[in-house]
Amino acid sequence: MWLYAARRLLMTIPIGLGVTIICFTLIYLAPGDPVQSLLPPDATASDVAMLRAAYGLDKPIPIQYLIWLGHAVTGDLGTSIQTQRPVLEEVTRALSNTISIAVISTVLAFAIALTLGVIAAYRSGGIVDRIATGVAVLGISVPSFWLGVVLVIIFAVELGWLPATGMGSDGSENFSFLHWDQAKYAILPIVTMTLTPLGIIMRTTRSSIAEVLAQDFIQTLRAKGLGKLAIMRHAIWNAMPQILAMLGLQLGYLIGGSILIETIFTWPGTGFLLNKAILTRDIPLLQGTILVLALAFVAINLLVDLVQTVVDPRIKRA
């Protein structure tokens, strides 16, 4: 098993490298000279050249990439132009904020989706099934940023129960899930974040279980006289690998794609950081954030794969 894990890790490295190359090259897609934008318009040519050399932008691109990569591996992702703080520090702080709501959302989505999906497959065609299908379609069709706005309208504007934006009344410094005063800021973001994974996981659960129930061995179990509940247990256990895989994937999507929701709720996570970096053209911050998020996604995928091999004995660990 560990050999397989090691081999998977080895295969991930080229992909990780590819990710770094893309992160690095993205910046060069940007129109305009990054150095020019940092200087006042009356800067002389020698000033420009000096600044260029200082940033190391006068070297050929592959060399720049390697230098950047070398720094990144040691944890030095540069300094944010806006805040003058190390990028890594900014990103890790924001990441913890994002992960907290993403994980809660995923767990919530999983719990609801599993329950509804199992009931829907159990009484296929019944009312729960229709509701579940409806929720699934909604989940994949709803624009998350719009849902956030709607929830804010309902709960903050009209009813005034929950705050509209922010992470805690004093910014994110005093945030804690344990105090209602602070925790209530997280409710709307979490609810908004939950809907899309809910829809997708429910769909996967329902179709996986339906697939398993259609297999021959289920007929054998029924012929042996096993009750419906016990059969469902077997079916769920067999469908688990697929469901868990989708779960991990959704968690990855939430962490990597949180920018829209965090923008709506001004939640200081990595998505919000990304938005800020784009608006202010803060190149080091942009590069660093994208890199960390992409690598996090790769890591989650790897984890999902490894969990799959443990849970699903059909996968060859050759």
């Binding site: 050999l3 090691a6 081999r7 050759a318």
Partner: protein, 370 residues
């Protein structure tokens, strides 16, 4: 299905004056010389080639004009790989293929495209042998179109062939494969193979997937077509009865090699190789009084990745001796068309095997099964 035990069957030779004949009557239609195909196996952390599956290992034989050569063997003996190698669908690792006296490929008088016109294959009727999205007459017409026929001409050829194989073109031509039964699909397969007017057909398990009654119809159809179109057949199957019914000569394969070859009656009535004998002895009889109590052949065939040294059958052969481990027996060659050869040390007086000697006295006779 009757088996002719009293009279030895004669070959059906090509009638004189076959316009496509280039090599002459005596030239075998196909000569296979030392054909070899190994499949690499990749494993390990770096996906390196660690071993090879010796699917076809040094196979040599000839197919005579106008005959039906049957190839029998169990699963994994390499017969399907052999079929694909002969059709040039798989690249060979070593060996020569000579069709009607000419080698195939660049630097030769026979191009691959020309070979295709002469040698075609009928596939096993699985769901994948016909394109599910094309009406069957389009599937049949594809071959002629590739070689330059116009649309209407190709369609006309297709419809004629459908008629020849016993399917009414106006009723079946526009149908899709999923609207046909197994036997009908197989007729379409045969029609497709005949679309380019080939001189030789390779039939790879062509009747194996059919019900018995349909199988009989298709076999009769094959016989009719062979006479009508002057064809040569290479019939591959694992079904001993079918091969006996349709073949003039039979070739027995084991683990990528030929173990015995000869006229059908000689093989079925007087088999020389222990493997052939065991194979024939494992046929079940219709007579309930003649039950097979003990299995004539025990165990699974050994791994084609690591075949036994020397004679590959020695691990399951009741007559194995020391010489069988050290030296691989050879099939031998003969200029006689009706030669009955076996790759066994017992047939070779010079091998040193204790039972080697004049063939008539070496082994007890085989029970004849009806």
């Amino acid at each position: 299905m009757s088996t002719a035990t009293t009279t030895e069957r004669r070959f059906q030779t090509v009638p004189p004056g076959d316009p496509n004949d280039r090599g002459g009557k005596a030239q075998p239609m196909l000569i296979v010389e030392n054909l070899r195909k190994y499949f690499p196996i990749h494993a390990g952390a770096l996906n390196r080639r660690v071993a090879e599956v010796k699917a076809v290992d040094g196979v040599s034989f000839a197919v005579l004009k106008g005959e039906t050569l049957g190839i029998v063997g169990e699963s994994g003996c390499g017969k399907s790989t052999l079929a694909r190698l002969l059709m040039h669908l798989l690249p060979k690792d070593a060996g020569d293929l000579i069709f009607d006296g000419e080698t195939v490929g660049p630097g030769s008088t026979l191009s691959l495209k020309d070979l295709r016109r002469n040698l075609q294959m009928v596939f096993q009727d699985s769901y994948s042998s016909l394109n599910p999205r094309l009406p069957v007459e389009e599937s049949i017409a594809y071959g002629p179109r590739v070689h330059g026929a116009s649309r209407s001409q190709a369609k006309k050829t297709a419809r004629e062939l459908l008629d020849k194989v016993g399917l009414r073109p106006d009723l079946f031509g526009a149908r899709y494969p999923h609207e046909l039964s197994g036997g009908q699909k197989q007729r379409v397969n045969i029609a497709r193979a005949l679309a380019l007017n080939p001189r030789m057909l390779i039939l790879d398990e062509a009747v194996s997937a059919l019900d018995k009654s349909v199988e009989a119809q298709v076999l009769n159809l094959l016989g009719y077509l062979k006479r009508h179109f002057n064809l040569t057949y290479l019939f591959i199957s694992h079904d001993l009865h079918v091969v006996q019914y349709i073949s003039d000569r039979v070739l027995v394969m084991y683990l990528g090699q030929i173990v015995e070859i000869g006229p059908v009656d000689a093989i079925y009535n007087r088999p020389k190789h222990p493997y052939t004998r065991a194979l024939l002895n494992s046929r079940l009889s219709m007579n309930p009084n003649e039950r097979v109590e003990t299995a004539p052949l025990v165990g699974d065939p050994p791994n084609p990745i690591n075949p036994p040294s020397g004679c590959r059958f020695r691990t399951r052969c009741p007559h194995a001796e020391a010489v069988c481990e050290t030296r691989m027996p050879s099939l031998g060659r003969s200029t006689d068309r009706a030669a009955h050869l076996a790759a066994c040390h017992m047939e070779d007086p010079a091998s040193g095997h204790s039972l080697a000697g004049p063939p008539a006295t070496s082994l007890p006779p085989v029970q004849i099964r009806q």
